[in-house]
């Protein structure tokens, strides 16, 4: 079993043993405004997006070979 799977298994077991109490009072409450700071984007994703953008830009006008 991998580390990630072990973590998953353990978390799912904890969830099952502490059967969540359904919070009926939450239903029907008005919508809340979300703080944009909720979202922190990982540097890994920014790097990936930048590399995709840069490669796409570099190859936009190239044309190699014939089909």
């Amino acid at each position: 079993m991998t580390y990630a799977t072990q973590q998953l298994t353990q978390a799912l077991q904890e969830l099952t043993s502490n059967a969540p109490a359904f919070q009926a009072s939450r239903i029907g409450r008005p919508a809340e405004t979300v703080d944009p700071q909720t979202f922190e984007f990982s540097a890994e994703i920014e790097t990936f997006l930048e590399s995709k953008r840069a490669y796409s830009e570099r190859t936009r006008d190239v044309s190699f070979g014939s089909y």
């Binding site: 969540p20 359904f22 008005p30 995709k52 490669y55 044309s63 070979g65 089909y67």
Partner: protein, 511 residues
């Protein structure tokens, strides 16, 4: 007048039942110079349980498209003697019997060209439309299917399928026929002529010919000329080395229902000064294997650092037409290596500013952030979502979707205990959502692969480039068990929902 609408001159109507002694091999050997693609097409008709085959001759005077093709060949080949065409149609009823609504299977047009007085005629399948043999219930997902009307000696008929065509090597080559298949899926008329493509590419058959094939820049000119948007992925080893895996990009087009062209270099021991030979094929769908070992094994055994599973991991084969071999072949996912891969032209009906691979990465960050900030809602399916998200084990599937299709999907979505999403939230989305956007579905392994269900989805803008640095502005809406988000006047709003279970994944209806 094209080959589908032209009147035909009756030639013969064959009883093709095996018990009647009919042989596909013998028929093709005797009548069509043992043509291998025609044999493939007849074998597909056999899989569709065909019982008869109607042969009609199409004449130039009845079919302006045939006259146009012959005129182009006369320019390209000065010794051209003429070309003839047969329309072959495949039926589930016996020869001459009145056809029921399900009896017409499909058709193929076979063209024979005599390129000079001394050579034997050259044959090719000018076009063919048959339905795919395997459909969704066989885990085959071919999303480019459309309907065609066909005039036959036995009355007008209709067929649904993906148009196949083969190059003649003189006035149109593999790039033309691959483009024709792809454009047939997208253009309102369901087809495009080679003369139009050649005009857009500057091919006149005198000063500019297709002897060496079509260059990508010419293919791009054709796509632009017919008004189809496209994204280009290039891999030219040592010059432009694609930093990512091309299969993920390819899947990003076809999963949204759009075709893509896949170009590759052939193994060529003696490449000329212009480089080795290349070939290009249209990708029109994929197969799915819910028992695939690769997704788990890739992470556990081969040190893959992914923090989610893309639904592409369960793709088994791409479905394609190869003009050299025939329609509806399967290309196993990892058969074509990056060493040979050269080009993807992925088509879109509408412009899209963010690719499927990029938007999936962004969606992952949004979903992880929600799970981190709201680790528990106190209801089991949200809490499971949160655990899978924080463990890096979500399954994500990205689709470019029209607003109407999404709202229909949303309205039909029910949990196992038949709870639907709140109607007022659907109304809010109806007012707020743009005409199309990215939908990234979030699920877990067995939930996605076997039950074909999901925790929910996140909707992200496709019309603008992603902000640098990334911020929440691309987020349009999000639905998770017990939780709904949407963007309103630049602010994100979150509310709870009575819909607290998993719901079915999106399924595009096949005609």
């Amino acid at each position: 007048m094209d080959f589908r609408g032209a009147p035909g001159i009756f030639v013969d109507w064959h009883d093709t039942r095996v018990e009647a002694g009919f042989s596909n091999f013998l028929f093709v050997d005797q009548n069509y110079r043992s043509h291998p693609v025609l044999r493939r097409i007849l074998s597909l008709a056999r899989k569709h349980d065909y019982k008869s085959l109607l042969v009609e001759e199409i004449r130039e005077g009845d079919c302006s498209l045939l006259a146009e093709e012959n005129a182009a060949l006369a320019i390209r080949c000065p010794g051209f003697q003429g070309g003839t065409a047969h329309r072959l149609s495949f039926w589930r009823c016996p020869p001459g019997a009145p056809a029921g609504p399900q009896d017409f299977i499909g058709y193929a047009v076979f063209k024979m060209d005599k390129l000079d007085a001394h050579a034997a005629p050259e044959g090719h399948v000018y076009e063919a439309v048959l339905p795919p043999v395997r459909l969704t219930e066989h885990n085959n997902y071919i999303r480019c299917i459309r309907g065609y009307s066909v005039r036959t000696d036995a009355g007008p008929q209709t067929v649904s399928g993906v148009l196949y065509a083969q190059q003649n090597g003189q006035t149109f080559v593999c790039a033309h026929v691959a483009l024709r298949t792809a454009l047939a899926c997208l253009l309102p008329d369901g087809d495009v002529t080679y003369s139009r493509m050649n005009a857009l590419a500057g091919i006149d058959h005198v000063t500019n010919t297709v002897e060496r094939g079509l260059e990508p820049v010419a293919m791009e000119a054709i796509l632009t000329g017919v008004g189809i948007c496209f994204e280009k992925i290039v891999h030219e080893p040592k010059k432009f080395d694609l930093p990512t895996e091309f299969q993920r990009d390819l899947y990003g087009f076809i999963e949204s229902g759009d075709p893509a062209l896949l170009g590759f270099a052939l193994d060529d021991p003696n490449p000329g000064p212009q480089g080795g030979s290349r070939h290009i094929v249209p990708i029109i769908g994929h197969t799915f294997n819910d028992d695939a070992w690769v997704p788990d094994a890739q992470r556990a055994y081969f040190d893959n650092q992914l923090s989610y599973f893309s639904s592409e991991s369960w793709l088994s084969s791409y479905v394609l037409h190869d003009d050299n071999f025939g329609p509806y072949y399967c290309l196993p996912r990892h058969f074509l290596k990056k060493d040979n891969f050269r080009l993807i032209l992925g088509m879109r009906k509408h412009p899209v500013m963010v690719s499927a691979t990029e938007i999936e990465a962004v969606a992952l960050d949004f979903l992880r952030a929600v799970a981190v900030h709201h680790p528990k809602l106190g209801q089991i399916w949200y809490d499971r979502f949160s655990i899978f998200a924080r463990s890096g084990l979500l399954v994500l599937r990205s689709l470019l979707i029209e607003k109407k299709n999404y709202l229909d999907h949303l309205s039909a979505c029910r949990t196992r205990d038949e709870v639907s999403v709140e109607a007022d939230w659907v109304s809010e989305l109806e007012k707020a959502l743009p005409e199309r956007f990215w939908m990234i579905e979030a699920s877990a392994q067995e939930l996605f692969t076997v039950s074909r269900r999901k925790f929910g989805e996140i909707l992200l803008d496709c019309s603008k480039p992603l902000p640098k640095p990334l911020d929440p502005s691309p987020l349009l809406a999000m639905r998770l068990p017990g939780m709904l988000w949407h963007s309103e006047a630049g602010q994100l709003k979150m509310r709870t929902s009575a819909q607290q279970g998993h719901t079915p994944i999106y399924s595009a209806l096949q005609p």
